[in-house]
């Protein structure tokens, strides 16, 4: 299977090469006992300061039972498991390629998701096509699940645009850089979904640092008051640039939800199966009209904040090393191998696909043209603006005045 660029409104890349829609399966499996589980989960989540980490796969790849969340992944086939693995491997590969491209000067900046693949793929694969996703700037894995061509993500990091895809083609909003703003957009969108009487849900991503922003907390409250079908997915990767969790919050973040009147759950964000299960649970209750939920995916930012950052200034290597043992990809690989769900062919094929993806990303990025100068004045307004027209005309005339000296622009 090759990685193709994505057409609007087409079914997304399926999770496994031949699998059906994993999301649907899970929905059915879980639908039967939904309400009860909701209650229990709420209680469990609020129990105290001890993290109640939902985990379905141990770091060693052992499948552990969880009465509450098992039903949400009961229908997951080996093929789908391989699909999740493939998603994570390709996402990591894409991410590594982007980091390399930044080093080579092809990108101005890159925000790596390294270490957060399971949280993103698990939650992303839990969405339905009609759901709508609001990312931060690091959700490359979720974008992948939504079918956004990964090369489109690179435009803003290269500096050729501030957001290079049509959000409505894949119901995947643009990356939002001002921390926390998108939580309110997601909530408003979800209010609209409810007004439309649709049973879609909305998934809003943000980080542990973002949880401190007033906008995120106002979003919690609006979502609760309007019972909006929005799931808040907080990737707690332990760091907000150089600030660790205790600089942002006194208690585990998932606990914040209850004070607004909806459940919060902490999930092992390095466990793709658990992330899938918990997100399905939350999305389904949102669809059923039970309102918002908060998921805290406990994970780790393995790399620097962005390529501009130097984490050696503020954290020790031991920490990263300890988390490497919990690597999300390794974990699923161990599980697949122990379950005899894979053979060498699968891995070789994936490696080839991975190489192809890397090559394509390199090629597309290097060929990405700079925007036309006049793009400066494009899209400032939808209906036009007299001053923009005037400035554009002056700009054109000014540029033309160089025509004698220069053969062509720039």
């Amino acid at each position: 299977m090759t990685v193709e660029s994505t057409a609007a409104r087409k079914p997304r890349r399926s999770a496994g090469s031949k699998a059906g829609n994993a999301g649907t399966t899970g929905t059915k499996a879980a639908g039967t006992t939904g309400t009860k589980r909701t209650t229990r989960s709420t209680r469990a989540a609020g129990k105290g300061a001890d993290p109640q980490l939902v985990q379905l796969l141990t770091p060693e790849g052992k499948r552990v039972k969880n009465a509450e969340f098992d039903p949400y992944v009961a229908g997951v086939t080996p093929d789908e498991l391989r699909g999740l693995y493939r998603d994570m491997v390709l996402t990591r590969r894409f991410d590594a390629e982007a980091t390399a491209l930044q080093r080579q000067g092809e990108l101005g900046l890159w925000a790596s998701l390294l270490g957060q693949e399971a949280a993103q793929i698990g939650s992303g694969r839990a969405t339905r096509e009609d759901d709508y996703v609001f990312p931060t700037y690091r959700e490359h894995g979720v974008a992948w699940c939504r079918g956004v061509d990964p090369t489109n993500l690179l435009g803003m990091f290269r500096g050729v645009n501030n957001g290079g895809w049509d959000p409505n083609s894949n119901n995947f909003h643009l990356y939002t850089i001002v921390i926390g703003s998108q939580a309110l957009h997601a909530t408003g969108y979800a209010m609209g979904v409810a007004m439309d009487g649709a049973d879609s849900a909305v998934l809003a991503y943000f980080g542990d640092g973002a949880s401190s922003q007033g906008d995120v907390m106002e979003a919690f409250n609006f979502a609760a008051v309007y019972n909006a079908p929005v799931v808040f997915f907080c990737q707690n990767n332990q760091w907000a640039i150089s600030e660790s969790n205790e600089k942002q919050t006194r208690v585990p973040l998932y606990q914040r939800a209850e004070g607004f009147g909806f459940p919060g759950v902490r999930v092992d964000g390095n466990d793709v199966l658990a992330s899938l299960a918990v997100t399905r649970w939350a999305l389904e209750r949102a669809r059923r009209g039970e309102g918002p939920a908060l998921i805290e995916a406990y994970t780790y930012r393995m790399g620097a904040h962005t390529t501009s950052d130097d984490p050696s200034r503020y954290r020790h290597d031991d920490e990263r090393i300890a988390w490497e043992a919990k690597d999300p990809i390794l974990r699923l690989r161990r599980h697949l191998e122990a379950s005899n769900h894979t053979d060498e062919g699968f891995f070789t094929e994936l490696e080839t696909e991975s190489e192809a993806l890397g090559k394509r990303v390199r090629e597309v990025v290097r060929a990405m043209p700079d925007p036309d100068r006049l793009a400066l004045f494009e899209h400032a307004y939808a209906d036009g603006h007299a001053l923009v027209d005037e400035e554009r005309a002056q700009f054109v005339a000014y540029q033309a005045s160089f025509a004698d000296t220069e053969a062509e622009g720039v």
Binding site: N161, N162, G163, G164, W165, D166, P167, N168, H173, L174, T176, V178, S181, A183, L184, H185, A186, T187, G188, Y189, A190, M191, G192, V193, M195, D196, G214, D215, E218, A219, N221, F222, V225, E378, H379, A380, Y381, A382, D383, H385, A386, L387, V388
Partner: protein, 325 residues
């Protein structure tokens, strides 16, 4: 069939018409429901269109604008009320970094037809934060449009057009004029939203104003007429974009310009008008463009606001000074 109504009522009727004709139009804000807003501008709308279309929100301006953006992304056309001018700032981040920029960020793929209604300006004897004129803080920001009617007909039609606009519009309502009455013809064919209007013709000097100051300038023109001076009054109607052509045409005729607004003079919209009209009319101007507006001090307590706000004397003083050149 024209009808005489107050500005507040004209906006109310305009919102009603929008709610009637477009099921995607929503009205949102603090106390806009049963209360009908603290100025009764949304009076009766929730009763007639329900709590799903006319929505009382939590007390959080960033939340109001932020969720309105989300609703617009879902295809709605929210008309958001900020209760008073001084309370728009908690929403400023959402307005400046999201509402204004998202269309461009998405290379045009997203449109955000959100109207932010802000009752603004002083002269009502209110406590702090209830009398400000922050229009320049929005007009400086690309991606926003900023308009403000001065009379009932404009209030009605400009609101219709603002709601129909695919761009975010900051709609400043001259609160101290809410009860001034004027003709509204709901069957008229309105002119463009962003065109200025010559409210009174004259030959000796141009007064430029908008919103609450238009009435004052018309009164000043009356007073000046008694002294044999013919003042032209231009009602800008739109602060972004600003219709410099109409102002220029007027100034090329009168050769003198005084700009009047309640907002502080320093970096107020008068600064831009002065700068640009001076550039456009450099050889026509007999006097520098003069400005009458608020001082560089926090808006004063009510018992001092008459000293702070432009009044007839201050406008005529500026007219005198201009004519003395």
């Amino acid at each position: 069939m024209a009808e005489k109504m107050a500005i507040a009522k004209a906006i109310n009727e305009s919102l009603r018409r929008a709610l009637e004709t477009d099921p995607k139009v929503l009205v949102m804000g603090e106390d806009v429901g049963k209360l009908g807003g603290v100025f009764r501008v949304t009076d009766g709308l929730q009763k007639d269109f329900g709590e799903g279309r006319v929505i009382d929100t939590p007390l959080a301006e960033s939340g109001i604008v932020g969720t309105a953006i989300g609703l617009a992304l879902r295809g709605y056309r929210p008309v958001v009320e900020i209760q008073f001018d001084g309370f728009v700032f908690p929403a400023y981040d959402q307005i400046v970094t999201q509402l204004a920029k998202m269309h461009a960020r998405a290379l045009g793929k997203i449109k955000l037809p959100v109207v932010v209604r802000i009752p603004y300006g002083g002269g009502i004897g209110a406590v702090e934060h209830h009398s400000e004129s922050p229009e320049a803080l929005f007009a400086h920001v690309a991606g926003l449009k900023v308009v403000t009617p001065s009379n009932s007909s404009d209030a009605y039609w400009m609101m219709q057009q603002a709601i129909q606009s695919d761009d975010p519009v900051i709609f400043f309502e001259p609160k101290r004029r809410y009860w001034d009455k004027g003709e509204v013809d709901p069957e008229a064919i309105p002119g463009p939203l962003h065109a200025a209007r010559v409210a009174r013709e004259g030959t000796d000097l141009t007064l430029v104003a908008y919103g609450p100051m238009v009435k004052l300038c018309l009164e000043a023109a009356d007073a000046a007429a008694e002294e044999g001076r013919s003042l032209e009054v231009v009602d800008l109607r739109s602060v972004s974009p600003l219709d410099f052509d109409t102002v220029q045409t007027s100034v090329e005729k009168t050769r003198r310009l005084v700009v009047v607004h309640e907002a502080p003079v320093f970096l107020g919209s008068g600064a831009e008008i002065a700068a640009r009209i001076t550039e456009r009319c450099f050889y026509h101007l007999e006097a520098p463009v003069l400005r009458v507006g608020g001082y560089h001090a926090p808006y004063p307590p009510a018992r001092l606001e008459e000293e702070y706000l432009p009044d007839l004397d201050r406008v005529l003083d500026a007219v005198d000074r201009s004519l003395a050149y």
